[in-house]
Each structure stands twice: as C-alpha cells, then as structure tokens.
C-alpha cells in the first residue's frame, strides 16, 4: 500500500511537472513570440525623421513605444492619432493607427509596423501590445 501511495504521488508529480512544463513552454513561446514581433523590420529612425535627414518613403519600420496621449480620433472611431514616446528616446511622435481587436489606451506599450507616407505622416499598419 505504501508503494501504491508512493506511486500515486509519483504519477501526480509527473503530471504536475508535465503540466508545468507545458505551461512554461506556452508562456515562453508567447513571451518570445511577442518580443520578436516584426523581427524582420528595421527600427524606425526617430531622430532622422525629426531632424529631416530622410527616411525611405513607404518603407516599413518597426516602432516600439508608449502611448503618451490619444490626440484625435476619426469620425468612425476606428482611426486614432496618438502621440507615441519611442522606447529609448525622449521625443514624441504622432502616429496614425487603426484600432484592431485590441483597444488602445494611454500608457500602453505598443510594437508597431509603421511607414511614412508621401506627406511623411507615420502610419501604423499593424501593432501588438507588449
């Protein structure tokens, strides 16, 4: 009987361990997957943009930053003009983004795929919460 108890404990332990491992793997997958959002894109050249040193028009960039303020929203309430404070920079950038299933709020940190249009307006094509 003692052996059976030991075995039961061992099975539970294994089960819990597996569950834990699976959970850890899923979490790690999720975590690594998000930090690696738009990994193929180069970082948005914040200073170049502000100082007019030229960026490639229509080229996509990765921009990560905190939503400092939601400045304006369009009539259909889907498109927002937000001010983003890029991570590691002490500047604010105006970005136009269209709300997806994830709602936009102040203080959120977003990872965005952006490009500058012909008027050098920064437009966000896709984003994810960090």
């Amino acid at each position: 009987m003692a052996r059976a108890k030991k075995f039961q404990l061992g099975k539970n332990y294994i089960f819990l361990t597996v569950i834990g491992l699976i959970s850890l793997g899923g979490f790690s997958f999720l975590h690594l997957g998000s930090s690696q959002k738009f990994p193929q894109l180069s970082e948005f050249p914040v200073e170049n943009y502000l100082e007019k040193n030229g960026i490639i028009e229509r080229e996509d960039f990765r921009l990560e930053g905190k939503v400092e303020n939601i400045l304006l929203r369009s009539d259909n309430s889907n498109t927002f003009l937000v001010s983003i404070k890029p991570t590691n920079f002490n500047y604010l950038l105006p970005v136009i983004l269209t709300s997806q299933k994830k709602s936009i709020q102040r203080e959120q940190i977003l990872v965005m795929k952006v490009h500058a249009d012909s008027s050098e307006v920064i437009k966000c094509d896709d984003y994810d919460l960090k």
Partner: protein, 600 residues
C-alpha cells in the same frame, strides 16, 4: 469746413481794407477842413505862417503907435469906428495934422504918415525943404534899386538847378514870395518917384490932387485902412465943398483883371479865400464907407478871436485869424494879438497835423494821445470819430492776425500770409499785433522744420520716436495739407509701436508668472519691423535661457509648418507641448495640424 470759414474771413478782410481806406480819406478831409495850417502848410500864405510864429516883439510899443493912429483918425473923421458915439463933434484936422508928424517916428508906420504929410503940404501949398528932401529921396531910390536888383537875382537863381541832384532849390511859394517883395520894392520906389515929382514947383494943383487920390487908393489896396481913412479925412478937409470924385487915372473904374494892368498898380496877394481886391468906388465918401466897414469888420473879428481863445476854440480861432491876415493885414486888431495866443493857435494846428500824420502812419496810440490832449483843452472839439477810429482798427488788426494763425494751423500758407499782410498793414505800429505776427511766423517756421523732421523719421521707419513725439506731430498729421502717403506711413509706425508696447507688457506679465514659453510665443508673434527691436531682443535673450528645449521644438515646428510638412511640424509641436503642457497656442496648433492629418 475750417478752410471755407478762413476763405470767407480773407474775403471779408479785403472788403474791410477798402472801407478802411475810405475812412482814412474822410478823416484826413475833416482834419484838413479843421485846420488848413496843420495839413497843408506849404500852400498857405507865407505871411500867415510868419505872423503866427513872429516874436512878441514890441506889442506894447505897437499898441502905443496904434493908439496914436486911432486918435489921429478920431480927430479927422467924426464917425470913426474907434470913436465913442457922442452927439458932439470933437474933430480937429489941425490937431490931427500935428499928431501925424509924431507917427513917423514909429517903425510900424513905414513912413506913411510922413508921405501923407507931404501930400497935405503940397495940397495946401505949404513949403517944404525940397532940396534936402530930394537928396533923401534919391538916396532911398538908390537903396531900393539895389534891393530890387538883389531880389531879382535871387528870383533868377531860384530857377537854377542844384549841381548835386539837379533839382531847383526853391519852391514855387518861395518864388512867389520873392516876386511879392519885388512888387513891394517897386511900389515903394514909385511912391518916392511920385513924391519927388510933387516937390517940383511945376506940378499943378490938379496933378497933386490926382497923386493924393492915387495914394489913398494904394493905401486901401495895401489894407492900410486907417492910414487910407486918415488920408481921406485930410483930403476932405482940404477941399471943403470941392472935388470929392476919385480921378479915373488914380482909380480907374472897372479896371482889368490883376496882372494885365498897369505895372505900377500895387498888387495884393491873391491867395486865400477872402476877397482882397478893392470894389469899384467912385468917390472919397464911398471909399470912406468901404474903409470904415473894413475896420469895423476887423474890430469885430478880433473880438471873436478873443472870445474863441477864451473858450479854447482854437480851430475856429485859427480859421478866422487866417481870414484876417488876408483881409486886414495892417490892422491894429491883428497886429496886436499876443504872441501867446498866436502860439496857442499854432500849437493847435500842429496837433491836428500830428494827428493827420498819425492817421497816415496808422499810429493809433499816438492818435488817442493827441485827441486826449486836444480834448483836455477843447472839451467840445468833436474828436469822437477819431477816437473810435483809433480804437477800432487795432482790434481789427488783431482779429486778422488771429485768423492768420488759424490759417497756419489749417496748413493754408497762402491765406495765412495774406491775412498777416492785412493785419500788419492795418496796425503796423501796434505791439500786440506785431508780437502775434512774429509768433505766427515762428510757428510757421517750426511747422516747416517739424514737417521735415516727420519726413525724416517716417523715412527711417522710427516707430519708437514717432510714438514718443506723437503730441508734436499730431496737429501736422491731422492737417489736410499733409501728404496722405506720409500720413499713412506715420500711422503705420504708430500702430507698430502700439503693438510692440502691448506685446512687451503682456510678455513681462507672463514672464513674471513663470510662463516663459507663452512669453516667447508672444514676442515671436510680432511682425517683422519690430521683432528685431532692442526691447524685444533683450527679452528674447532672457527667456531663451529659461526654456531652450521649448524654443528649439517651437522653432522646428514653425519651420516645418512653413515648409508644408504638417506631420513633422506636429511632431515638434507635441514635443513643445511637453515643455509647456497648458499652452493654448500649441494645443490649438496640435489640434489643427492633427485634424488635417487625420482627414487625409
């Protein structure tokens, strides 16, 4: 409106100028009528002027002579004007004849009494020392011939032109005076010639009568009425019941006009208004009546003059005196007028002349002074119109001067000049008018200088000085004569300075509250001419040290906005807003630019 009113004033001033000239002419005419001596002395008989100014001399001695003369007349003529009216006849030709001899010793007599005595002696057949008298007469004739020569030379020389200026040295009056003296000398010489002839025993009684008659007429013509009347008395007593008709040769009836008759006929001055010629008289009795009336007139006129002098009616006295000098030259009534009285008359005339001069010179103060002085002596002199004339025109002149000042302020230089001219012509010696005119001229000069100064300041665009000297320039700028372009430019400068001052005031207030970005924006919003003003730059320097990040962001934003890059401009405005979170200007810019971007 103001210019229209000034134009009306100018027209009024010009009309008034014509009225003024008429008024002056009327006053001058009145003054001339009041005293001929005062206005045109040159045209008056020399005798009158010399009589007025003659020394008092020996009036007492003259009075003694005239008293003797009157007693001779009273002894001869029963109805003598100098004789008290009595029923008894106290006449005595013999006594008169004796007294006549004494009269010759007086210089006033001019030897006439002695000539009368000579005639009487001739008529009565009395012997005279002919030889001695003949010598004396010859001597006198020589003296008179020399005198005549001298006078004729003087007359001739009076026509000679002056070597320096080519003008003759004498006036026509002076030449007339010399001619009169020549005539007098001729008449006197003629008398001596006649007397010389009478000395001859060859002369008949008829001739002597004729000579005596002629002598009587000559005396009458010379206005020696008393001597003539005395001669008539002697003539009458010499021919009692005899021939009293005047001989045609001695006194031709209806003789031709003066100047065309006999050279030896004594002439009398023709100047003046009173009758001086002898009327047609055919008998000694007629002559006596004429002489008595002349003497009575002279007595009456003298009484009138005395009364007038007592009442200080100097103008009237002067007029009557002038008549007497023309009609009763040798009458004792005229010759014994005291020096003091004559001088009073002369002074009165002089005052009128001075008034006339003052009217011509438009010296109104002097007119008032002289009028007061005359009225002090003659309360009823009738000077009210002169007083009102002298009071009215300085006031008018001052009025025109004030109108000129208004014209100057309205910028109407032509009218100003015209009105000033009228004012100065109206009262050239008035101090108040002169000061006013001087002040206008100085102000006009200052205005010219101020206009030049304004042009210079406007041209330099000096808005600060324009504003600080606004009080000085305002009247000039408001003037309708100022160039509208200059006016507009000046007003723009004033507006710039006002905007600057408002901005500075606002900036200082924001700075005091610590709102540096707002202060910066306020200064930065100023337009170009004043944004570089020292007062602005000084504040900008101070503020820029306080908020450099904001200024950088703000300037970047502005530049991008100018380059039509709204996204980048918005980015920088957002960064500026971080430095100045409650800045309305930046917020509105963000909203404006963001809205534009979002709509695209």
């Amino acid at each position: 409106m103001e210019r229209l009113r000034i134009a009306e004033e100018t027209a009024k001033a010009e009309r008034d100028e014509i009225d003024f000239q008429k008024q002056v002419a009327t006053i001058q005419k009145k003054l001339a009528e009041a005293s001929a001596t005062s206005i045109i002395p040159e045209s008056l008989p020399t005798d009158f002027r010399s009589f007025l100014s003659a020394n008092a001399g020996d009036i007492e001695k003259s009075a003694e002579y005239y008293a003797e003369l009157k007693t001779v007349l009273n002894d001869l003529v029963p109805n003598s004007p100098y004789k008290a009216r009595t029923t008894s006849d106290s006449s005595s030709p013999l006594r008169a004849s004796e007294k006549l001899a004494k009269l010759s010793s007086y210089p006033e007599d001019n030897d006439i009494s002695r000539i009368i005595s000579g005639h009487i002696s001739s008529l009565t057949g009395g012997r005279v020392d002919d030889q001695r008298r003949q010598l004396e007469i010859n001597k006198e004739l020589q003296r008179l011939a020399a005198e005549r020569k001298r006078l004729e030379w003087n007359l001739k020389m009076s026509y000679s032109p002056n070597l320096v200026d080519g003008r003759t040295s004498s006036t026509e009056d002076e030449r007339n005076f010399i001619r009169q003296q020549i005539e007098d000398v001729k008449a006197e010489a003629q008398r001596y010639e006649d007397e010389k002839k009478s000395l001859s025993h060859l002369i008949t009684t008829e001739t002597r009568k004729l000579q005596f008659q002629q002598f009587i007429v000559e005396l009458a013509l010379q206005q020696r009425y008393i001597h003539a009347l005395i001669s008539c008395g002697f003539y009458r007593s010499s021919f009692k019941g005899g021939d009293l008709n005047l001989n045609k040769d001695s006194y031709p009836s209806g003789r031709p006009a003066q100047g065309t008759g006999n050279e030896n006929t004594p002439s009398v001055p023709s100047t003046g208004g009173a009758p001086t010629q002898l009327p047609v008289i055919s008998t000694i009795t007629g002559m006596e009546a004429f002489l008595q009336s002349r003497i009575r007139d002279a007595i009456q006129e003298r009484e009138s003059i005395d009364n007038m002098l007592r009442e200080n009616q100097l103008g009237a006295a002067e007029s009557l005196l002038r008549k007497m000098v023309l009609t009763a030259k040798y009458q004792p009534e005229l010759q014994t007028i005291p020096f003091q009285s004559r001088q009073s008359i002369l002074q009165s005339g002089r005052k009128l002349r001075q008034i006339s001069d003052a009217v011509n010179a438009k010296d109104y103060d002097e007119i008032l002074k002289l009028v007061d002085s005359i009225e002090a002596n003659e309360p009823f002199a009738g000077m009210a119109d002169l007083k009102s004339f002298a009071n009215e025109h300085p006031r008018k002149a001052l009025h025109w001067a004030r109108q000129a000042e208004l014209a100057m302020k309205a910028g109407d230089k032509k009218t100003m000049s015209s009105l000033m001219d009228i004012a100065i012509r109206r009262a050239p010696l008035n101090q108040e008018v002169a000061q006013k005119i001087q002040s206008i001229q100085e102000n006009a000069q200052i205005n010219n200088e101020l206009l030049e100064e304004l042009k210079r300041i406007v041209s330099a665009g000096d808005y600060r000085i324009s504003f600080e000297r606004m009080n000085e320039f305002a009247p000039l700028v408001q003037s309708s004569n100022t160039d509208p372009k200059l006016k507009d430019a000046y007003e723009q400068l004033i507006e710039s300075e006002k905007a600057l001052r408002v901005a500075i005031e606002k900036t200082d207030s924001l700075e005091n509250k610590g709102l540096m970005p707002e202060a910066w924006i306020e200064l930065n919003a100023l337009p170009q001419p004043i944004t570089n003003d020292a007062r602005v730059l000084e504040r900008k320097n101070r503020i820029s040290a306080e908020c450099p990040k904001f200024i950088k962001a703000y300037h970047k934003a502005i530049n991008y906005e100018h380059e039509n890059q709204p996204a980048k401009a918005l980015a920088w405005y957002l960064n500026a807003l971080v430095e100045s979170p409650s800045n309305n200007a930046i917020t509105s810019k963000v909203n404006l630019l963001g809205g534009g971007i979002l709509k695209k």
